[in-house]
Amino acid sequence: MSSVVTQMKPIVFRYKPIWRRLAPIITMGVKIEGIWYPVEVYVDSGSAYTVLHARIADGVGFDYRAVEPIYLQVGDGSFIPVYLHDLEVQMGAERFTAKVGFSEKLGVGFNLLGRADIFDRFRICFQESQGILTFESGK
């Protein structure tokens, strides 16, 4: 009797050339009130949660303030309010539920892809010398 092990192919993203550098920016899907939206996120292992700019939620008409905020400490030591929601997300062909926060105080220009529900689901390899990031599903 043999067992079958299904090996999912890693999802491969290219680093994005920007201002003479390479940045780990990838495209993922986020389902908000029944509609899928592609969004760009900066893969940031230093961020506890995935946090999108609140202006995206405002733009699509999502009441992200319907929950109590949590407060996350950012690089300058200050705390910013983040409104966390359980949303369906998509990486490659893989869909799952993840904590996604919205904040109007995100002090960086990028949306951030953080650790919660992402880094424990995928083995993420930053291969900057080859210009690629790979997400290998561990579930």
Binding site: T27, M28, V39, D44, G59, G109
Partner: protein
């Protein structure tokens, strides 16, 4: 959404982000059919136009980074 569509957007951005940051820094753009179809200052205006035009599949909407945006994250 279609995984292939997500991949197409990602590939398009890998090819064109460097052009976008020089042409539209700080602006919100919508990518659809391999080109920029909407440019605005506000996400709300871009999504509103997408709904009005009935664009399918959903365009990729993002605020084009400025150089200081990249510096702030490094």
């Amino acid at each position: 959404m279609e995984a292939l569509q997500l991949q197409k957007y990602d590939e398009w951005l890998a090819e064109h982000l460097d052009e976008l940051v020089t042409q539209y820094p700080g602006k919100v753009v919508a990518i659809h059919g391999d080109k920029v179809v909407i440019v605005s200052d506000l996400e709300s205006e871009v999504y509103s136009q997408i709904r009005e035009r009935g664009l399918e599949p959903m365009p990729l909407v993002f605020r084009v980074p400025r150089e200081e945006d990249l510096q702030s994250i490094l």
